[in-house]
Symmetry: C2
Subunit: 234 residues, 2 copies
């Protein structure tokens, strides 16, 4: 897999700010930055051995990309509202069926093989009951097919809300009941890719998104009940 930049083909010399931004984005996407963490430019600068400017640059860019939120005291993860999450499910239903259809028609054997590996990993991890690994494998599967979306604008539109999806995903993953649903959904999607069946891919992802929404709503309900129980017992 070659490194592909956002909009250009020749990467002469990525600036420090760019490098830092990429590293931070990786951490954000891997969930290494918690809701309570505050990212401060001076700290980032010290870590990377540069001045505040490239660090600030990276932070401001991440804010603009929607990955962070600027506060009066450092940069933090944006607080995603319940409503926003429902909006994003709606948006996903518009974009992703077409995206996977295009992928099904254009996927190269090498990409297919890479995806197959993540499916196997997820299956193994589910049997072993390793939540963390199921999560990682499913994330790699998703990132894999998104990277294969041939319509660049469509791909970028999908990637915009990836962090929020990631957050929701982390919530629903806490209930192991959802693990087989996710693995099965991914498997069906993969089979559609392998068969170059664009229609099946669309149908599967749509069903998958609806299932994800239901799982999210269940998780929210469970959390609310839990809070109520705690309040009652106190």
């Amino acid at each position: 897999m070659t490194i592909v930049l956002a909009s250009d083909q020749t990467a002469v010399a990525p600036s420090q700010g760019q490098i830092i931004r990429d590293v931070l984005l990786g951490r954000l996407q891997r969930g290494e930055i918690g809701l309570e963490d505050r990212l401060v430019d001076t700290a980032i600068a010290a870590e990377f051995g540069v001045s505040r400017m490239p660090a600030r640059d990276a932070l401001k860019r991440l804010v603009h990309e929607g990955y962070l939120e600027a506060t009066t005291r450092g940069f933090m993860l944006p607080r995603v509202t319940h409503n926003e999450i429902l909006e994003i499910f709606d948006l996903r239903r518009l974009l992703e069926p077409r995206a996977v259809a295009l992928v099904a028609q254009s996927m190269k054997p090498a990409e297919l093989t890479a995806l197959e590996g993540t499916i196997g990993d997820a299956r193994g991890a589910t049997r072993a009951g390793d939540t963390e690994l199921v999560f990682k494998a499913s994330e790699r599967f998703r990132n894999g097919w998104i990277a294969a979306v041939p319509n660049v604008s469509l791909r970028q539109a999908i990637q915009r809300y990836m962090t929020q999806v990631q957050a929701v995903r982390m919530l629903t993953f806490r209930d192991p009941v959802n693990h087989p649903l996710i693995v099965d959904g991914n498997t069906r999607l993969f089979d559609a890719f392998a068969n170059r069946d664009a229609v099946a891919a669309s149908d599967h992802i749509l069903r998958f998104i609806y299932e994800g929404e239901r799982a999210y709503l269940n998780a929210v309900k469970a959390e609310a009940e839990e809070a109520q129980q705690a309040a009652k017992s106190a």
Copy 2:
């Protein structure tokens, strides 16, 4: 109309960079910056009476928003490729039918009245043959309904590609044949809004986008033939 910021409710003190960015964006959207113009941070800084930092900040933000392109020698208008334009038409067909359907169901009387004004302006300008005014009115119509999209995430996804749409629109507007098509399309869409007819709104915008794509392809073909003519006569 109250001033609503991108993501927050309280505007304590917009930074210089923010102000400059807004001013430059206005110029870009009004077409005051040509394809050959190079925006340089020192010049911007001098114009606004600040240092390079806020100017650079504004420029980099505009780059990230897709309004500008960073070169080794200043910031310029991005060169949108033919392929990218076709991709965006595809994306529009996915997002905008749903968006206008939601608008049709949720539009407030005040917003409707504002849109009605732009329709009237466009009709008048078409009769008068004033390309510039038709363009402006149609732009205000589009911005008007986009602002009324209740799903914030969906709205932002649409706004992301607005500059590119704007560029294409400017190209197709050069042929007055397209003016009545545009005005009629907007009128049909407006009627659907007025009748709260979500289905009709979806259908109209979809047809409108297809017409837009055809007009774009015709404009490209016409341009190519023109270039050929010029080459032959030379």
